[in-house]
């Protein structure tokens, strides 16, 4: 990380990272969130800005296969990280199974939270597959995780849907969970 002073107050930082499989090198004000770097610098506007305070989950992306809120992290902190956004979940026009399930189950109205919901669900299913418990898991020591609707709801609580499409979001994730965890 080298820092070049451009003005008396703002130093410009460089960061090299991979976004949806493509190496990227950015020059940024160090204040730039990963979310703003994706949207304003790389023009990947699929990732949405909702609250910008880590409360709504609209900005969820995957970093090294883990879901995080891209609004609450600095782009410069992600040197050499592997970022996947909604645009990178599947190749070309193909749909990721969760994207197909969200359409099949009509799991949205306005669609603003949907990219975050889907990226979050991708991360969540990997966490369940790794055997991670949740707040509603009866025994946290148990290694067997059954993704009941209650488990899906708890694990997805970091994603708010103002249209309240929750029943269909749960149904879409349940469909894919049954395939993934089988």
């Amino acid at each position: 990380m080298d820092t070049v002073t451009k003005s008396p107050t703002v130093a410009i930082s460089h960061v090299a990272l991979t976004v949806n499989g493509q190496p990227q090198r950015l020059e940024l004000d160090p204040r730039t969130s990963l979310l703003d770097a994706l949207r304003e610098h790389l023009h990947l506007t699929g990732t949405k800005k909702g609250c910008d305070h880590g409360q709504c989950g609209a900005c969820t992306v995957l970093i090294n296969d883990r879901r995080i809120n891209s609004c609450l992290t600095l782009a410069v902190m992600h040197e050499h990280d592997d970022v996947v956004t909604i645009e990178g979940l599947s190749a070309a026009e193909a749909l990721h199974p969760l994207q197909a399930a969200f359409i099949e189950r009509d799991a949205f109205q306005c669609g603003y939270c949907t990219p975050g919901q889907i990226c979050s669900a991708v991360g969540m299913l990997a966490e369940a597959k790794a055997g991670w418990p949740s707040h509603v898991t009866p025994d946290v020591a148990s290694r067997q995780i059954a993704l009941s609707d209650a488990e899906i709801r708890e694990r997805m609580s970091g994603n708010i849907c103002r249209c309240a499409a929750y029943p269909n979001i749960v149904a879409a994730i349940r469909d894919v969970a049954e395939e993934t965890l089988r």
Binding site: M1, T3, T9, V10, A11, S13, D29, P30, R31, S33, D52, H53, G54, G57, T60, R66, R67, I68, N69, L72, T73, L74, V76, M77, E79, S120, G123, M124, E127, A130, G131, W132, P133, S134, H135, T137, D139, V140, A141, R143, R153, E154, R155, M156, S157, G158, N159
Partner: protein, 332 residues
Amino acid sequence: MKPFTYERVTDLRAATAAVSRTGAKFISGGTNLLDLMKLEIEQPTHLVDISRLLLKQVEDLPDGGIRIGAQATNSEVAGDPRVRARYPALAEALLAGASGQLRNKASIGGNLLQRTRCSYFYDTAAACNKRTPGAGCAALRGVNRIHAILGASDACIATHPSDMAVVMSALEAQIELLEPNQSIRCVAIDDFYRLPGSAPHIETVMRPGEMITGVVLPPPPPGRQLYRKVRDRASYEFALVSVAVIIATERETITTARVAFGAVAHKPWRSIDAEAALKGRPATFATYQAAANAAMRSAAGYGHNDFKIELAKRTLCRTLADAAQIGIGRPT
């Protein structure tokens, strides 16, 4: 957000040197610090990124305890099989906090050092001694439903928001600190946090330039561990009251008891009084009530949060009964 310069460090000595700069602050997960920087409540001029230090391990210790690296994420620790088997209440507390996305980013050290969620601390137009020492406390006569009932002062009635730290308090965790001269000192978690007194902006006993490198948990005491969190929403919400208990019984007599409350004070509130009222006593609902009364003997509400005193008592009784699996009765 105010401008700052950024630097990533990969060894402890460099971290210590970097943070000695005026206005410098460590950043790791950033989930609390960046939120506060956006609101300009925190205004560091230099950020020292310590997230890539090799402090992510959960290690078994020869005495049967474990050491958790300060840079381990909340989710990794909650998912660790050894934590889940031997310190289940710690996993429960971690999983009761924040959201999946935040737990994947937030570090264990950062969880300990997160700031209060007092709405007047967050409102830069309101008086807050924690934000601006000497400014006054708007919460005292404000909407103080979420505020402290124990150990508060006229200068500050904010609570510590961590779930994890409550269980660590019951487990008698030691906080491992790296001093600027590169030596390590350990502080018991109960001594690590300060009560607000007349200086609520000083929240811990950490000295300038120190860094949390890990948390050491002694072997778990015998008995069943349980963490219960009471809140306004079923998920992704801070506690109104939470309780960590560890209780062991022998022929219906309590042999081991640990009790700590969350969201009731400026720090995780270990209740030695409640523990004394439990040890050696029969595991009955009357004993639990006596412990609850002992725990809340010095409690005081500030209006909107008066209900927390009764809520804390009832939450403790129910959690003790559930953990001991005996003495389940109705409050009289």
